[in-house]
Symmetry: C2
Subunit: 223 residues, 2 copies
């Protein structure tokens, strides 16, 4: 996500250049906001990596700052404490998955093709630093209120899978099954990617996504 | 596993009764050992539950003892410290999965049937208190040596899946695929059970196992 934003900032700079060498106040504000968001995400990613490597309780804000080569006060500019960091990590990670579901849902795809497209997007997101680290984090460290919020966000993604499966059953492309169990099975297989994926392996993320989606769609038994 | 042992102890008592009302020294020793193992497993299960509910670092030996209605010195009779508990939890849980793989491997089943049988056993184990809690535990709290041991045990189960998939491809029942990716996909879907399974739900463990195995074997697309 960070890289997408950097490209967006670079593009908006280039656009501005064709009109005037000076940026408008609006452009400067937008760039500042984008840069702040980019840095906030870097803080969240560094924190998620530290939490996964060392456990939530063993991680200090100093260690997160060190990973980013900044001081602790710089971190406080983006987040107020460790609890807030953990909550924001879950919110940001789940938002990326929800966005992918929305985009697929708003496309012209139907039934099994729509489900497969979301599965591919979901699988590829699992190989990104941010979503991978969110998936590996346990929510046991969260207070009851925030934990309930995180679980509701996760449920909303589960509902997307169930809806897409049910649509596919209705239009006849997906075999009769319990959409709830199918959603659990699919999410389990795809979330697993976060546990075994290593960048630099023999398969690139799109190939991994394609292979797993094919296995789930076609099944192990020869057709 | 605990219940199986209790039945075994009761049965060995009944057998002894038909021969003599007094137990032999050997029988008494065996019963003592079985009871000790049963209690050790109860300590490990209580610990795994506490670690999952509160996080490893927030869990004290006192809390584990309290869950079992015993004192802390009683716990020390079975384990020496929290690190050992965590290692033993992983060893015991993975041993249950390995045993299931051995039993299926020593049966007359072949290829896809063998794989499906192991998948069913694995899925059912995921709904048991012990294996469920082991699966939910993170190994980040383990020291590097023990972590390496735990990862090797987990790898050995992954190799069983790959071997069974490869056998099924050779005999023509499983469609051509990368056994490594198939093993990851299957394990991800099955390990996921530990995250969503709730005792008392509409489906019993054997039905859950059957449904998921069927989805993975036949695929989502109608045949």
């Amino acid at each position: 996500m960070g890289i997408e934003r950097e490209v967006a900032i670079a593009t908006s700079k280039a656009d501005a250049g064709t009109r005037s060498p000076w940026k408008t106040a609006e452009e400067r504000t937008r760039e500042r906001e984008q840069l702040r968001e980019l840095k906030r995400e870097a803080v969240l990613l560094a924190a998620a990596q530290e939490f996964n490597a060392r456990g939530y309780h063993n991680t200090t804000l100093e260690a997160i700052a060190e990973r980013l080569n900044v001081t602790k006060p710089t971190i406080y500019y983006y987040v107020t404490n460790k609890d807030e960091i953990l909550t924001e990590i879950f919110r940001t990670g789940c938002a990326a998955l929800s966005k992918a579901a929305d985009e697929v849902d708003n496309s012209d795809l139907k039934g099994l093709d729509k489900l497969a497209a979301f599965m591919r997007r979901y699988a590829e997101l699992m190989t990104t630093d941010f979503v991978m680290n969110v998936t590996l984090l346990e929510d046991t460290c969260l207070g009851p209120e925030i934990r309930a919020e995180v679980r509701e966000i996760k449920s909303s993604i589960d509902r997307r899978f169930r809806t897409f499966v049910a649509e596919g059953i209705r239009d006849g492309a997906i075999a009769e099954c319990d959409p709830k169990m199918a959603a659990f099975t699919i999410a389990g297989a795809l979330n697993g990617i976060a546990r075994w994926y290593q960048p630099g392996g023999p398969l690139e993320p799109p190939e991994i996504a394609e292979t797993i989606v094919n296995l789930l769609v076609e099944g192990l038994r020869v057709r």
